[in-house]
């Protein structure tokens, strides 16, 4: 075997999460009443467009989650040894990006370094000039003349490939829609185009087209150029940005996973049992939420850091150490951020426990835990879901802030926070190195914005108070309402299906 699979702690939890989501989806598909709000999510154009982008991020994050240690060919083949370096599937795919390390800073699409260096000329003399990069634009004879043309040509070729792929996807989508809706291929395509479908396929397709166009161009270019430039040690910033996605996703999702047991258990028990249980839990979360959270997190992280440094024998690779630190960061964030959801759940449970169906259950002598699990939990799940999705983007941002402050992830772990932290100093130098910050910013912006848009769609669909009146069909007053009645009812039911 050329590699040894490795499952780090966060990997295991991510797999667990994926399984849980899979089971949840399966469960939802089976029961109609759970499916209804998700259908409403599916009908929101902005939500589905955001989900398309999120899917992109999630695919990259999942690729980056599959870890392994490649085999090292020793001088003797008798003993198989594995590299100390832990690689992910993404690392393997993006090996050219990972391995093509320049000497130091270079601007996006540059063929030369960003700073002048003294180079030895073939004739023995010395000159200060911008030396050529080892990899970026190395294939060009005369960068000054050829660079722009080459970049445009490659970008166009990559974009065209992306569009071609998009056409294939749209075509197969229309075929499947046509088969399901028992209509012709062209009418299905026209339906997508006009936006007459239930699920806003046209919004999804437009987003997909943009993304395929961009990523096609990026893929075509990144082989020969550093499209986002390189950082101080010459690493490709595009690669760093891709690697940061997983960290952000892990923080955003696993923290919620850590937080949910606390919030659910404490919130519901406080609301349900009331009395002293409620008092204790209320005091607990009031106390916890009155401590400045950054201070609390910093203290916890520093303690953990000290422990890890005094026990280096616990980790066999650097990646394992960084990973455990990430996990602990999730746990710490989770432990300090459950109070908000807990309070919401307590309030909702207080309301629910007075509902008559709960009293009916009491009258049947149903046990407390059964009432909680069968009656209360399903009825607060919408709150949990909305909060989880809404919290996600906040947590991604929190990671960036914490890493910037220096209490975030391990320095060896690539994340948006560490990227921003590294770029911080370069903003002050002249000429300014701006690309690292821009890359981190734009990736994070896309991730957080799409997460927020998706969260909005979820909230609109699940929160009964947020029902938006459907677009009103204006009927002109005093103009044959009776005649239009039949028509409008028909057209409305037509679009409703």
């Amino acid at each position: 075997m050329p590699f040894e699979p490795i499952i780090l702690w966060t990997d295991a939890l991510v797999y667990l999460l994926v399984t849980v989501i899979g089971v949840f989806v399966w469960h939802v598909r089976r029961s109609e009443h759970l499916l209804v709000p998700w259908r409403r999510v599916g009908h929101s154009a902005s939500g589905m467009a955001a989900l398309t982008i999120l899917t992109f991020f999630m695919v990259i994050g999942l690729l980056d989650t599959v870890h392994m240690r490649p085999a090292v060919t020793n001088n003797a083949a008798t003993e198989k040894a594995y590299s100390i370096e832990v690689l992910s599937l993404l690392d393997v795919i993006a090996a050219p990006l990972r391995t093509r390390v320049e000497k130091t800073y270079s601007a996006p699409f540059a063929a030369h370094l960003y700073a002048k260096e003294t180079v030895e000329l073939p004739d023995g003399g010395q000159a200060r000039e911008f030396p050529r990069l080892k990899f970026g634009g190395a294939h060009l004879e005369d960068p000054e003349a050829q660079l722009i043309g080459d970049v445009i040509w490659r970008a166009a070729r990559g974009g065209a490939l992306g569009l071609f792929l998009w056409c294939l996807i749209v075509a197969s989508l229309s075929v499947s829609l046509a088969r399901r809706g028992r209509q012709t291929f062209l009418s299905a395509l026209a339906g997508i185009w006009r936006g007459a479908t239930d699920v806003p396929w046209n919004a999804i397709c437009i987003t997909l087209a943009l993304m395929l166009l961009l990523s096609g161009a990026a893929l075509a270019l990144c082989g020969d150029y550093h499209i986002f430039g390189t950082d101080k040690v010459g690493q490709d910033v595009f690669y760093l940005s891709l690697k940061s996605i997983r960290t952000g996703l892990v923080i955003g999702t696993l923290t919620t996973l850590m937080m949910l047991p606390f919030a659910l258990l404490l919130g519901i028990t406080a609301g349900y049992f009331q009395g002293w249980v409620d008092d204790v839990i209320q005091y607990l979360y009031t106390t916890l939420s009155s401590i400045p959270s950054v201070l609390l997190i910093a203290a916890a992280v520093l303690m953990m850091q000290v422990y890890m440094e005094t026990h280096p024998e616990l980790f066999d690779t650097i990646a394992a150490r960084a990973d455990l630190r990430l996990l602990f960061l999730c746990i710490i964030l989770g432990v300090t951020s459950w109070t908000g959801l807990c309070r919401l759940l307590r309030g909702e449970t207080l309301k629910l426990r007075e509902m008559e169906y709960i009293q009916a259950a009491h009258a049947f002598g149903v046990s407390h835990w059964r009432i909680i699990s069968r009656h209360i939990l399903p009825n607060v799940m919408h709150i949990v879901l909305i909060t989880t999705v809404m919290d996600f983007s906040g947590l991604v941002l929190a990671e960036a802030v914490l890493s910037y402050v220096g209490v975030g992830v391990d320095p060896s772990m690539i994340s948006f926070g560490t990227m921003i932290n590294a770029a911080r100093l370069e903003m002050a130098r002249e000429p300014m190195v701006w690309w690292a910050l821009l890359a981190a910013f734009s990736f994070m912006f896309a991730l957080v914005l799409s997460a927020n848009l998706f969260a909005d769609a979820v909230q609109n669909a699940f929160d009964p108070r947020m029902r938006i009146a459907p677009a009103k069909v204006r009927i002109l007053r005093r103009r044959g309402a009776k005649q239009s009645k039949a028509e409008s009812a028909e057209s409305l039911s037509g679009t409703g299906n």
């Binding site: 149903v366 009825n379 007053r477 039911s493």
Partner: protein, 727 residues
């Protein structure tokens, strides 16, 4: 004389999520000056939408599609919004159903009324204050000068509704639209408010558009009535003519579905209307009532009937009255369907279910006392201060004694807030009683350990008021019903349990039989509660309670959230189940007419105590306690002949946290004596079953009273109409 308000062919559209709905569809009516027009109908018929359309206050999704609303010949629908604002509150005012929600809690009463005066009369300062005081005095707010600067939360429900009326009157409107003005109020308060509205109308000569679902209120207050069904008016007539002889089958059915004692005496079920009000989003071809009508024939399903004048001023929309119809068809329409409807009423679901009966046919002597409650007290502590020290008690239930026999119904009657529901729940041990004893079949339930109590729980069950809140929206019907069975069988002997598990079909059959016995198809079990209407949900709730074979069911206002026609269905069902299964009911209600139909015994409750107790005839025909007398006299009645004398009670129910000393009723009692203020009266017994707690009747002369009672009973049959005229 031209009418004050003339609505022609008004059509209103609601843009709901799924489809367009037409809550008002071609409505035409007119109201004369100084007249009260009652718009009657079940919920969902578009009554409130009509009112909002007249005011042009439709919600965002609503829109007036066609028609005209003319006030003194001026079309309100053509006016610009600014002009309309000058009309609202000035020429047309509106009172809403929920006084608690229609006053702004952060503004004083005077400020809210002052707003109207400032807008329409530019009155400010002292002049406005003087006028506010005048209006508040007009609507009977005691001590108005002081109370006008108070906030709405400092007023009781009835007072708030008076303030709403004061606000509506402040603009001296020509037309007052009252949208269910008394539905949220108790009967005694309702009588006050209706009396006030009548009085104000006589004084100011304004017109009232009264929107109500209560036929009796319309019978008491309206000059003319219009019956609304599914977005259109199906019958208009003067009050006398309507209540003497309603023409439309729907009106007839509505009147017949009111529970009354006569029907029970005759052993008849209430005539319920099958089905529900149709969805207003659907397309109507023929008569809208045809699907639920007993007299419908083909024509009704095909052609919508036109207005037909029965007598002058009495018009109806029904093919039955069409003179052009050949008499044969009309006769056929009547005769062909009538017997069928009879069988439907008593047949399909009123038939006693044989599959359930043997399971519950516990052999107990019918006279045995199933439940006896002695001196039950439920106090809720009031905590104060940082350390949560107990500062006092809300005496929700303060010494209640009652007993129910196997297969009988005891009705617990009282106004809201008097502790009826708490009694029910503490009997079921859902709220732990503070003191007293609850004996079920001789077994003391108070202080019973949780495990033993759980075993007992199958014996007594509960049906709730709000069928929308009593079923878990996330569970299917089958899960809802099985929950009780599973939880109560869990403690039973295992063998039987496993046997039942193995024969899953047997339990499924039992479930189907159960659903059938409450009039639902067995397929219903796979659906979720939101797919059912209010009446159907109440049937499911009844099925859930019956699933564990209880002997006693506490019904906590099971029909007060339902329409009259559906209420009749549920009452029929409860009665039929009682007959076939021998159930005993503790029926908690504020609706006297339901009591008359269903109850064997009545306990009248006032502020945590039972003031009068007796068989239904004794209490309702011959009420002894002043509170019972006032309560019964306040109930509106349909019979036009009985001009009863309403005993007006002053003020409201006092707070149970601080009840008046002595007899709780003394601050409102018309016969109050000094001793009433000091000590609580002992029980005065009038017959073996009838007793009251009042100083008006000497407690010790039991024998004498008994003799008198005997004489009374002999006389009772003839002077019924003269006694109180209730029922």
């Amino acid at each position: 004389m031209s009418p004050l308000l003339q609505i022609n062919n008004l059509t209103t559209v609601i843009h709901s999520a799924a489809a367009l709905a037409w809550p008002v569809d071609g409505l035409t009516l007119h109201i004369m000056k100084g007249e009260t027009f009652a718009l009657l109908g079940e919920s969902g018929c578009g009554k409130s939408m009509t009112a909002l359309s007249v005011m042009r206050l439709l919600p965002e999704v609503g829109e007036i599609a066609s028609g005209s609303v003319c006030l003194h010949g001026e079309d309100l629908l053509l006016l610009p919004e600014t002009a309309m604002r000058g009309i609202r509150g000035r020429r047309i005012s509106m009172i809403f159903q929920e006084p608690m929600l229609s006053l702004n809690p952060v503004m004083t009463v005077a400020e809210q009324i002052g707003e109207v005066l400032q807008r329409h009369f530019s009155l400010r300062g002292a002049a406005a204050q003087k006028r506010i005081l005048e209006i508040l005095n007009q609507v009977g707010i005691p001590d108005a000068a002081r109370r006008m600067s108070e906030y709405p939360f400092q007023f009781s429900g009835g007072m708030k509704q008076r303030i709403m009326i004061a606000m509506a009157l402040a603009g001296e409107p020509e037309l007052l639209i009252a949208d269910e003005p008394t539905t949220a109020l108790d009967v005694t308060i309702q009588a006050q408010v209706l009396g006030l509205m009548r009085e104000v109308q006589q004084r100011n000569g304004m017109s009232i558009l009264l929107i109500t679902h209560d036929l009796a209120i319309a019978a008491e207050t309206a000059h003319r009535v219009g019956i609304m069904y599914a977005g259109e008016i199906v019958e208009t007539a003067s009050r006398d003519e309507f209540f003497r002889g309603p023409a439309h089958p729907y009106s007839k059915k509505l009147l017949a579905s009111l529970p009354r004692r006569e029907r029970r005496r005759q052993g008849l079920p209430l005539s319920a209307i099958q089905g529900n009000v149709p969805l207003l989003s659907r397309e109507f071809v023929g008569c809208r009532f045809a699907d639920r009508c007993d007299h419908a024939w083909e024509l009704c399903h095909e052609v919508a009937p036109e207005w037909i004048t029965v007598t002058d001023g009495h018009r109806v929309r029904c093919h039955l009255f069409d003179k052009d119809m050949p008499a044969v068809i009309r006769e056929g329409g009547f005769k062909g369907t009538k017997p069928e409807s009879g069988t439907q009423d008593s047949g399909s679901w009123l038939k006693p279910d044989s599959q359930i009966r043997p399971a519950v046919a516990a052999t107990e002597t019918p006279d045995s006392c199933l439940l006896s409650v002695k001196d039950l007290k439920v106090y809720f502590p009031i905590y104060k201060g940082l350390m949560r020290s107990v500062a006092g008690y809300v005496k929700a239930v303060d010494g209640v004694s009652l007993s129910i026999q196997q297969g009988k119904t005891l009705a617990l009657v009282g106004e809201s807030g008097c502790g009826k529901t708490t009694v029910g729940k503490s009997i079921l041990q859902l709220i732990p009683p503070t003191a007293g004893s609850v004996r079920y079949n001789g077994l003391e339930l108070v202080g019973l350990e949780r495990k033993r109590l759980r075993e007992m729980r199958a014996q007594f069950q509960l049906i709730f008021q709000d069928p929308y809140a009593s079923l878990n929206p996330r569970m299917r019907i089958v899960e809802i019903i099985e929950e009780g069975i599973n939880s109560l069988n869990a403690g039973d002997d295992r063998e039987e349990n496993t046997a039942a598990r193995q024969s899953g079909t047997a339990s499924a059959e039992r479930l189907d039989a159960l659903l059938k016995s409450v009039g639902l198809p067995p397929e219903a079990k796979w659906r979720y509660p939101h797919e059912f209407s209010g009446g159907q949900r109440q049937r499911i709730a009844i099925a859930r309670a019956l699933a564990v074979h209880p002997k006693l069911i506490v019904c906590d206002e099971p029909t007060s959230a339902l329409d009259v026609s559906v209420q009749a269905q549920i009452l029929n069902l409860l009665k039929q189940l009682q007959d076939s299964l021998g159930l005993a009911y503790l029926f908690i209600t504020h609706n006297i007419s339901v009591v008359e139909y269903l109850a064997d015994e009545v306990a009248v409750m006032y502020l945590g105590r039972i003031v009068e107790y007796g068989s239904v005839d004794e209490v309702l025909n011959n009420p002894r306690h002043p509170y019972t007398q006032a309560l019964l006299s306040a109930v509106p009645v349909i019979e036009l002949e009985s001009r009863r004398h309403i005993i007006h009670l002053h003020g409201d129910l006092p707070s149970p946290a601080n009840p008046p000393p002595g007899c709780h009723f003394h601050p409102r009692c018309p016969h109050v004596m000094p001793i009433c203020r000091k000590t609580y009266p002992a029980t005065s017994t009038f017959s073996s079953t009838h007793s009251a707690r009042c100083y008006l009747y000497p407690p010790e002369q039991e024998q004498e009273q008994g003799q008198k009672q005997g004489q009374k009973q002999g006389q009772k049959q003839e002077p019924e109409s003269t006694s109180t005229g209730v029922g």
